[in-house]
């Protein structure tokens, strides 16, 4: 079953080509649409909602043609815009009920669905207060709720993690994951950060300049690019715990990609973070056992997020560039970005 299908979809504006013969075939599940700003993500969403006709090519959502069956699509699809879209002077409940009715739900059903949906996105007592007093994270939840309230078959989420702090970001990503796993709703989520979609999505589509750069399931991405960052404490027995662990792991056959902090001299932990290639669950277990065996303290063990830029680099030389990019591509601050 195909949720979204586009065929040589092209969108030209007088001065710029926003989409250039884009052919996609997206199945059920959580799909990430990644591209830098201006890559054509929002244009694609607009076309998929049947709101602006494409210059050339065809697109279908849930088997419905966007050019002729826009209204039917919009009845079955939810949309969460990137920008603020909430009036501050009404409560979340009132607003979402109104939006549910705009989607065609009868009054009673609209109230029930609103209460359910707000609970599912994690808004409880505060839903009776005016939206103006909400935090950014709560507003994002209301925006998500209005996209889900009519129980769509598919939701289009435009940059849902924008403006959120790392914790809020992780909460939102977990929520998006649940939208599919618990609610059974397919998701198309856009972001300009590949790393944050990696763990949430089943499938990632990367577009640049309106053209398809890469489309693959997330396991493909992670198989080749998962980098594990490990930091350990020193102990009396092993004055340089990092080196001791390195020795132990090398003996176990783990590939090292380098040490972090070469460009971050002076930062806490600089030079003490080992980057190694994770080949699967075994690697995590191995690190854990090795650290425990050496009697060291495990400060952190985390997946490094990859920036969209790496995909562009990889695109040029897919095979050779991967380890190099991962090894050299520890962007400043990526460690802090993680939590």
């Amino acid at each position: 079953m195909t949720v979204i299908a586009t065929e040589r979809l092209t969108m030209r504006f007088p001065r710029v080509t926003a989409l250039d013969r884009l052919s996609l075939d997206i199945g059920p599940g959580v799909t990430g649409l990644v591209g830098s700003n201006g890559a054509g993500k929002s244009t694609l969403i607009k076309i998929l909602l049947g709101l602006s006709p494409a210059t050339e090519g065809r697109a279908a959502v849930l088997g419905l043609d966007v050019a002729t069956e826009g209204a039917a699509i919009r009845e079955r699809v939810g949309y969460m815009p990137e920008h603020d879209c909430l009036p501050p002077d009404v409560s979340a409940t009132e607003f979402v009920v109104h939006m549910a009715r705009m989607s065609g739900l009868p009054p009673t059903a609209a109230r029930e669905r609103t209460a359910d949906t707000l609970r599912h996105v994690g808004l409880y007592e505060e839903r009776y207060r005016p939206i103006g007093g909400y935090s950014t994270g709560m507003k994002q939840r209301v925006k998500l709720a209005q996209a889900l309230v009519h129980d769509p078959k598919l939701v289009l989420l435009d940059e849902p993690t924008n403006g959120l702090d790392p914790v809020g970001r992780d909460d939102m990503l977990a929520l998006i994951r649940r939208v599919h796993s618990d609610f059974g709703i397919s998701v198309l989520v856009t972001s300009h950060l590949l790393g944050e979609l990696e763990r949430t999505c089943d499938h990632v589509v990367v577009i640049d300049g309106g053209a398809l750069l890469r489309s693959s399931s997330t396991s493909d991405f992670t198989r080749t690019t998962t980098t594990l960052a490990v930091e350990v404490t020193d102990s009396d027995e092993h004055p340089d715990g990092t080196d001791a662990l390195r020795g132990a792991l090398t003996a176990a056959g783990v590939t090292f990609l380098g040490r972090d902090g070469l460009d971050g001299e002076g930062l806490p932990g600089a030079g003490h973070i080992l980057l190694l290639e994770a080949t699967g669950e075994d690697t995590y277990d191995l690190v854990r056992d090795s650290v425990a065996g050496l009697g060291l303290g495990l400060v952190r063990m985390e997946q490094r997020r990859h920036h969209i830029a790496e995909v562009f680099r990889n695109g040029a030389a897919p095979q050779a560039a991967v380890p190099a990019a991962a090894g050299a591509g520890q962007q400043k601050g990526s460690g802090r970005d993680e939590r």
Binding site: K46, L49, L51, S52, A71, R74, E75, V77, G78, Y79, P81, H83, D84, C85, L86, P87, P88, D89, V90, E94, H98, M99, R101, M102, S103, G104, L105, P106, A109, R113, D116, R119, H120, G122, P130, Q146, H150, D151, D171, A174, L175, R178, D182, F183, G184
Partner: protein, 302 residues
């Protein structure tokens, strides 16, 4: 967060019922229902219903003033035993209280449209089954209906009062009908102008000021120039000058067709021929407002 969605576990006796996510299999009522919902929400919103207590104050106050004036007129008519009809014509009522109507439009038209524009809620509407035309029609219809309630309710009070005072039934009914037609026309015209001005200014404060300016400055200018024309003896110009402000337009139409006495200087409104021009201008303004609104929302759709 996952705690409340976990599947039921445990033995039959200690089963925890957790409904988790429920999908919706009920009816979806589609476009026309959504349009009606938006209409009723906007109409209620114009009187502050479903909004904060603070936003109820002004519209309710204005509506109260309109009704109070009508009640006073009725009371006067009933108290004076010699009267055979109401002291104020049905058609004159809205002209006398035009400032109240103007304030209502100025405060509620921006509330109706600027809010969605300013807080960028418009894309949420257009990502749903309704189309641009539904949105514009619902907002236009709601504003016109709100104005009709505001201007029609006092007329109903007058009419009921007149019947209770045992004035001539046929006359009263005819005049009341004429008055209702007049305020209906006024409501549609004012709603159109108010919404256009408000939709062009996303900032609500500017919208309020701009609507007041359009309604009062044009009226002030027209009545001043009319006054000058009247005193300088060019009575013919007086009736044509009325074309340039909303309230004098309505005055002209009802003088020509609805048996009203004009509030123009000298009391000489346009005749039937000029009245046709007045009516055409009113209709053109209403159609123009609709067209401008449609254009406006083409640019902001998502």
């Amino acid at each position: 967060m996952s705690a409340d969605t976990g599947t039921a576990t445990g033995s039959e006796a200690s089963r925890i019922h957790n409904i988790g996510y429920r999908s919706y299999d009920g009816v979806r009522l589609g476009r026309s229902y959504a349009r009606r919902s938006l209409y009723s929400q906007s109409l209620r919103g114009a009187f502050g219903l479903g909004r904060s207590a603070k936003s109820k104050v002004l519209p309710m106050l204005l509506c109260g003033v309109m009704c109070l004036v009508a009640l006073i007129i009725v009371a006067v008519a009933m108290a004076a035993p010699t009267m055979t009809k109401l002291p104020v014509r049905y058609t004159s009522f809205a002209i006398y209280l035009q400032a109240v109507i103007g304030l209502f439009v100025a405060s509620q038209a921006p509330q109706s449209v600027s809010r969605d524009l300013r807080f960028k809620s418009v894309p949420l509407y257009f990502s749903r089954p309704i189309e641009r035309v539904d949105y514009v029609l619902a907002k236009f219809g709601a504003m016109a209906s709100a104005l009709l309630v505001l201007t029609g309710l006092p007329l109903v009070i007058l009419y009921v009062g007149a019947l209770l005072a045992k004035f001539d039934f046929a006359d009263q009914t005819k005049w009341f009908g004429q008055g209702m037609v007049s305020v209906a026309l006024l409501s549609v015209l004012f709603a159109g102008l108010g919404l256009v001005v408000a939709a062009l200014t996303p900032r609500r404060g500017f919208g309020v000021a701009a609507v007041i300016a359009v309604l009062t400055i044009t009226y002030g200018a027209v009545s001043t120039v009319q006054g000058i024309a009247w005193t300088t003896g060019s009575a013919g110009a007086v009736s044509w000058l009325g074309l340039f402000s909303p309230i004098t337009l309505i005055d002209g139409v009802q003088t020509a067709f609805l048996g009203a006495s004009s509030a123009f200087p000298g009391g000489e409104g346009p005749g039937a021929a000029a009245g046709v021009v007045y009516l055409l201008v009113v209709l053109a303004l209403v159609a123009g407002s609709y067209a401008v609104l449609m254009r406006r929302y083409r640019r902001v759709g998502l």
